[in-house]
């Protein structure tokens, strides 16, 4: 890619962002115009004939990936064992990955199997970065760093947008931005194609309203009070009154925002309810307990009706909490990883059932990894972490990226408590996924604000 060209684009986007902060309605107007011209600049993806879906699994709280993926080779294990002390997973119980260099936590046998059959890859050593950063640069404060490192919400925001807000307005998320551009691949360019099963995330919000929050249990339901029916006799009159209420004008921006949300919901559920009701049941069995597997089975259902919805590209956001293991980690983390293993495994089987295992890629995200050092029965907020990428299209059975040395005060440690500095930025991780979705380099540079600061825009874990 051409660095100068990317600078120009970013300059343009910066101008776009500047237009946003003003407290006048005019700002919206001008922003819309700028947005339209920005849209016009992105690639036309209407020629796509194939289907691809991207599924983000956000592990809220900061996954301790150093206990999820553990060195198995004896000398490296010893190093890990020394630093993790009584939180170390015993080597005997680990599930070795092929090559025997690394192993998975004992709660993840299905992930071991998927790895060993090349349907799962690990991307190691990823985290929020503005630019490549060394220990020396961190310590002498010469590198530009993400703001408010080690804080949950700030690092979540960075993961989801590639930056942290410096004013009251927020940058869009890269999931949403991808959909802003990829929407040209779909039949209906106004129909939401980014579905969250886990409420509102920043990640899903692009510049255009193409995201939609589903219910993990029921997918999408009709608003019963206003469902179009002849009976009771007052129903039609009620619906008419409701429509008029939503169209009322108000000088209040809060009122307008709420009306818009209602109207958007109203407009968009109809077709989805209809299509969702027609979806064939997925026969793959998902684990019974908990919202996580429900979220994933609903994702599978949405993928199954992609053709009826006219969608070549879909993006999903799934969330699972409870990863902030400051205490009771051995028990709690094992439970979380078992839930993750069970849900992901069933989901992979469901994609096989639907015959889309090669066109659906599932990846993990989490605001930060955790400290190598321990606080007794838990670990604290840190920085770099390892991530799982699952699907037939991944370069599976491999660990991608240069892995860190698990020692305190070592070459990758920001300070002396084992908050390891990532080798690879979120922008690179996301861009690799975006490229697989078929996006052009120029679009990826527009989406990921820090991407041009790195040598490589493709980390190689996708085929």
């Amino acid at each position: 890619m051409n660095k100068i060209q990317s600078q120009t684009r970013r300059h343009f986007l910066k101008k776009l962002a500047l237009g946003v902060g003003s407290a006048s309605l005019l700002a919206t107007q001008s922003k819309l115009q700028l947005m339209q011209s920005a849209m016009a600049m992105s690639t036309d993806y209407s020629g796509f004939a194939d289907h691809k879906s991207l599924v983000c699994i956000f592990l809220f709280g900061g996954n301790d990936s150093y206990n999820m993926l553990v060195p198995y080779e004896q000398a490296a294990y010893n190093q890990y064992n020394a630093v993790r002390s009584n939180l170390a997973i015993s080597r005997d119980s680990l599930l070795a990955l092929k090559g025997d260099q690394y192993a998975l936590h004992p709660s993840m046998p299905d992930m071991q199997a998927l790895y060993n059959t090349d349907n799962l890859a690990v991307m190691g050593n990823v985290g929020p970065l503005i630019q490549p950063t060394t220990r020396a640069e961190f310590q002498n404060e010469s590198a530009l760093l993400p703001a408010d490192l080690f804080s949950h919400n700030h690092q979540q925001e960075f993961w989801e947008t590639g930056t942290t807000a410096t004013g009251s307005t927020r940058q869009p998320g890269w999931g949403g931005r991808m959909m802003d551009m990829l929407i040209t691949a779909n039949a209906d360019q106004n129909s939401p194609a980014l579905f969250s099963l886990s409420g509102n995330s920043v990640w899903q919000r692009g510049n255009m309203p193409l995201d939609f929050v589903l219910n993990p249990y029921s997918g999408v339901e009709q608003i019963k009070a206003f469902e179009d029916q002849n009976w009771p006799r007052y129903k039609r009159s009620r619906i008419a009154a409701w429509q008029k209420i939503l169209q009322q004008s108000s000088p209040s921006l809060l009122n307008q925002q709420l009306s818009n949300t209602y109207i958007r919901t109203d407009e968009r559920i109809g077709n989805l309810v209809e299509q969702y009701a027609l979806a064939p049941e997925i026969t793959t069995v998902f684990p019974e307990e908990g919202s996580f597997s429900k979220q994933l089975s609903t994702v599978a259902k949405m993928i199954s009706i992609r053709e009826n919805l006219g969608m070549k590209r879909q993006i999903f956001f799934v969330g699972i909490g409870g990863w902030d293991t400051h205490g009771n980690q051995l028990t709690d983390h094992a439970e979380r990883l078992a839930t993750l293993n069970g849900g992901l495994s069933s989901f992979y089987k469901a994609t096989e059932e639907l015959g889309v295992e090669d066109s659906v890629t599932t990846f993990t995200a989490s605001e930060f990894g955790r400290t190598l050092s321990i606080n007794g029965d838990g670990t604290d907020h840190a920085w770099a972490g390892h991530h799982l990428v699952m699907g037939g299209a991944v370069n599976g059975g491999q660990i991608h990226g240069e892995m860190p040395e698990l020692v305190l005060d070592g070459p990758d440690d920001a300070q002396d408590t084992g908050r390891l500095i990532p080798k690879y930025g979120i922008d690179q991780y996301g861009a690799t996924l975006g490229k697989w979705m078929g996006m052009t380099d120029s679009d990826l540079l527009e989406i990921f604000p820090n991407l041009s600061n790195f040598n490589s825009t493709d980390l190689g874990f996708m085929s």
Partner: protein
């Protein structure tokens, strides 16, 4: 803050220490002699009574005020406020109203529901099953307690100093502990924020939630260092935030136009050392704590406390050799003295009670009162709450277009319950199908197809049920679209989306259509809880009368003429509702359903 005041507060804390344990009591079988499970409160010096003599001029003004200061305006509460002439009189009444604590009620109701008994008939200290009485009592207090302002401020505090019973966060088995924590917020709602911080830090629910309990100093071989969880979130969320603020809540910037961090990682590590050495009062440090007493404050275990000197905010160093309690007091004073705490907490309380986007001047006026109540005391909540509710911006006749906030789901629900007098039915049997003979029957229970404890599935919110310590929503959340484009915050929109829009609309539809009555009824004899809609059904024979009343109790008498026209057209559609009482009842329900869904109701001004 002057040195003199800091000393005062320190001595209060020391008194607290010596009296510690007096409020304890592990008997939780619902005895009639309930205890308030916290360190005894010592009220700070009483502030000079505020002389704000702003009159309550109209029903409209009264309703507006009550929707901020209570769980929802009603005809009775509007009349009562008007009869007190000034807002301050009403507020002072509230300051002196007897406190409604939740724990004794939850214990007693829980015992009737057998929440205190294991399947094998043995007693248990706390349990998951207390969830049901906890929610019942919360709704009961929100809708009926006389100390409305205190309860309302406690809810606001529970959204700043967050603990949650959500699965996977450590407290789902400890609903008495969660209740007791809420009582701490109730207790200090009109106390001093500094005392609140102390009781929050030492409450076992917080101890579990942010792993403050059993946080230990670095061990001999150096493989264990202190836990940073409470240290970080206490600074980031409960007190000062991550960036330096001006008095008016705006962020300071350095010479390069960047925000200025209030602390760095090293300082978190120092505070983590401060908060070492605390564990459950009735257990040894390493003893199994599953059934520990979580209703009394954590106890200091000096051998696990790091008593080295620590460098805290503004370079202040805590002396070495201090006890766990001394270090705690020193550090909380250090935090409390930081200039951020006044604007940071004031701004959030304004957002919880009045408006999502207060002007910097409004924040500054409240923060000033936070810093000094007029008698040299910082953190006096009575003064802060009064300043928020009586500020000129809150009471102004004309307000900017950005004024107001989205009614959060709990407050929308509680308002409806208050107006239409939702009553629990009486259960004839015990809650659980247990064979152990417990269960006294005849206890009140809010009963719907969906239990109150499950409301948050549809609403996206329930009391002390946030997904994390970051609450249901962040104070600086701004939804995509008009608000974000204009740089405005709207925290409550963080839980508004297609899913919650549909499911909450469906829940209200269900409640209004199926759980309402237009007949004389005895709640105790009903199987399900019901809205009492007798009065509004009577009124519905005249559309204007009905709409006048709903305008007053639901819309602060500010219903737009266009909404009124839309509603009247619908209600007066010929040959649809008929003159029979059944038709009048439906007319009332139609009006209520449309109003509570309308943007002009949901955006509270």
């Amino acid at each position: 803050m002057s040195k003199k005041i800091r000393v005062t507060i320190l001595s209060i804390s020391l008194l607290t220490l010596t009296a510690c344990g007096g409020g304890g009591g592990s008997d939780n079988t619902g005895t009639s002699n309930p205890v308030i499970p916290t360190t005894p409160v010592i009220n700070p010096v009483i502030a000079t009574p505020s002389n704000n003599d702003t009159k309550v001029n109209s029903q409209s003004d009264a309703a507006k005020f009550l929707n901020r200061a209570t769980f929802g305006s009603t005809q009775d509460s509007i009349d009562q406020l008007l009869s007190r002439s000034t807002y301050q009189n009403w507020i002072n009444d509230q300051f002196n109203t007897a406190i409604t604590y939740h724990l004794p009620q939850v214990q007693s109701l829980g015992a009737k529901m057998c929440a205190n008994i294991n399947d094998d008939g043995t007693n248990r200290v706390d349990s998951w099953e207390y969830r049901f009485p906890r929610h019942h009592v919360w709704w009961e207090a929100a809708t009926k307690a006389n100390d409305q302002l205190r309860q309302r401020v406690a809810l606001a505090l529970s959204e700043i100093l967050v603990v949650s019973d959500s699965d996977g966060l450590g407290l789902s088995e400890y609903h008495l502990a969660v209740t007791s924590y809420y009582d701490v917020l109730i207790k200090h709602a009109f106390g001093n924020y500094r005392d609140l911080l102390e009781d929050v830090a030492l409450h076992p629910a917080m101890g579990d939630f942010l792993s403050m309990s059993r946080n230990q100093k670095e061990n001999v071989d150096g493989t264990i260092r202190p836990d940073e969880n409470f240290a970080r979130e206490n600074l980031q969320l409960f007190t000062i935030g991550v960036h330096e603020l001006n008095l008016d809540g705006t962020k300071k910037r350095d010479g390069s136009n960047n925000f200025i961090p209030t602390y760095n990682q090293k300082m978190i590590e120092e505070f983590a050392k401060v908060f070492t050495g605390w564990s459950y009062a009735d257990k040894e440090w390493r003893q199994w704590a599953g059934q520990a007493n979580r209703l009394v404050p954590l106890k200091a275990f000096e051998e696990y406390h790091d008593n080295s000197a620590k460098t805290l905010l503004n370079g202040e160093v805590s002396p070495s050799g201090q006890s766990a309690q001394q270090d705690l007091d020193f550090a909380l004073d250090n935090i409390f003295n930081h200039p951020n705490i006044a604007p940071y907490i004031s701004q959030q309380l304004i957002q919880r009670l009045v408006t999502s986007n207060p002007t910097p001047a409004y924040v500054a006026r409240v923060a000033e009162k936070f810093n000094d109540n007029g008698s040299g005391i910082k953190g006096d909540m009575k003064t802060v709450v009064s300043a928020i509710l009586l500020d000129e911006e809150a009471l102004a006749e004309t307000k900017p277009d950005s004024f107001g906030k989205l009614r959060e789901p709990m407050l929308r629900m509680s308002h409806l319950w208050r107006v239409f007098k939702m009553q629990p039915s009486l259960r004839t049997g015990h809650y659980w199908d247990s064979d152990n003979g417990c269960g006294q029957g005849n206890y009140p229970s809010y009963n719907f197809y969906q239990a109150v404890a499950q409301f948050n599935n549809s609403l996206g919110q329930g009391p002390l049920q946030a997904r994390s310590v970051f609450n249901f929503f962040r104070p600086d959340f701004s939804p995509t679209g008009l608000l974000n484009d204009n740089g405005l915050y709207a925290p409550e929109f963080q839980i508004i989306n297609e899913n919650t829009m549909v499911s909450s609309t469906n829940l209200y539809h269900l409640l209004v259509e199926r759980f309402a009555t237009d007949e004389t009824y005895t709640p105790a004899l009903e199987e399900y809880s019901k809205f009492d809609m007798r009065d509004v059904t009577d009124m519905a024979s005249d559309t204007d009368t009905l709409l006048d009343y709903l305008d007053l109790v639901l819309l602060n008498k500010e219903m737009s003429s266009s909404l009124r026209t839309i509603l009247a057209e619908h209600l007066d559609t010929p040959d649809v509702f008929g003159d029979a009482r059944e038709g009048q009842f439906q007319k009332a329900r139609e009006a209520i359903m449309l109003i509570i869904g309308s943007p002009e109701y949901l955006i509270q001004k």
